[in-house]
């Protein structure tokens, strides 16, 4: 018998109902994630409206090239996980597993790059509360920018880390043929989660790295 009927929980009538329920549950969870990060973006908006110059100055301290590369890495990883899901839906196994490993590796490289960013900022004295050596009239409100920067990227990196673990688990399960063209719900939900992580970063990128670059 296929994996489909073995994976049907007793409270559901059929696989379609189960799949529908899981997808809706995941999307509802993604909505909560959007609001969870949204508070930080709301705080960002309010502070930036009040201190536009300090936010531009703070943003110029960030590493735009590295930020752009990180964005490209995450966008590519999103495509890779989508292709992995496609492959499983078409009955594939090996390619899908390797695509998932690739996604996780891209996520990991994102974290490593971010680690380098944090380290150079530490050396520059840009971390409020730990090592902040900036002087001048904008130094106070610029701390708001850097607080938000660390809160946003910190929570985002936490999500990336969880996502990497999740993707590796999914890669293992895919390799062991736990999914099939009929049953792939956990993989689908993990992919959705990874796309959300990507979407959050799509907004982080211009708000953190691109402010005041032209001036």
């Amino acid at each position: 018998m296929s994996t489909e009927s073995a994976m049907l929980a007793q409270q559901f009538d059929d696989a379609a109902q189960q799949r529908e329920a899981s997808a809706l549950g995941m999307w509802t969870f993604l909505a909560t994630e959007a609001l969870f990060f949204g508070v930080l973006f709301a705080g960002y908006t309010v502070c930036r409206v009040r201190f536009p110059a300090a936010f531009a100055a703070g943003s110029r301290h960030t590493d735009m090239l590295l930020g752009t590369i990180e964005t490209a890495v995450l966008l590519t990883s999103s495509c890779a996980v989508a292709l992995a899901l496609r492959d499983v839906q078409l009955g594939g196994r090996r390619v899908a597993a390797w695509l998932l490993v690739l996604t996780a590796a891209l996520g990991l490289s994102f974290l490593v790059m971010h680690g380098f960013e944090y380290y150079s900022e530490y050396r520059e004295g840009l971390i409020p509360g730990i090592r902040y050596t900036q002087q001048g009239p904008l130094a106070g409100p610029m701390q708001l920018f850097f607080c938000l920067y660390y809160f946003i990227t910190g929570f985002h990196s936490l999500h990336v880390g969880i996502g990497v673990i999740l993707l590796l688990v999914m890669a293992r399960r895919t390799w062991r043929a736990r999914f099939s063209a009929q049953y792939y719900t956990p993989l689908e939900l993990s992919a959705l989660y990874w796309h959300l992580v990507d979407i959050v970063w799509i907004f982080v990128y211009p708000l953190i790295y691109l402010v005041g670059r032209a001036g």
Binding site: E4, D13, D14, A15, A16, Q17, R19, E20, A23, L24, W27, T28, L30, A31, T32, E33, A34, L35, G38, V39, F41, A42, T45, V46, V49, R50, M64, T68, T71, A72, L75, T76, S78, C79, V81, A82, L83, L85, R86, Q89, L90, A181, Q182, A191, L192, H195, D198, I199, I202, F203, Y205, P206, L207, Y209, L210, V211, R213, A214, G215
Partner: protein, 103 residues
Amino acid sequence: MNAPTTSASPPSLRLHLIVLAALLALLLTSAGCALLPLGVFNTLSALGISVIKTLLVMAFFMRLRRGPPLLRIAAAVGFAWLAVLIGMTVADVLTRVVLPSPW
């Protein structure tokens, strides 16, 4: 409830790669726009491009384009509520009358 158990066939490899190329092109566009002195349009273009990128990811990678409408609603509601939070909070900050401190 009586939807067919197998979902529609997944989008093609070609479509995935086209979307990825579009996303990367948009990324470079937004980086390039940020370097030009456009005034307020710097922010607007950056956010506009982010919105387009998000819509691309949601429509194609997350498969909302072909998915059940309910999921599109669920996705939209989260963003709508976020807009309420940001909108009304910023509205307060923007319309405050600054009272100079008496000392």
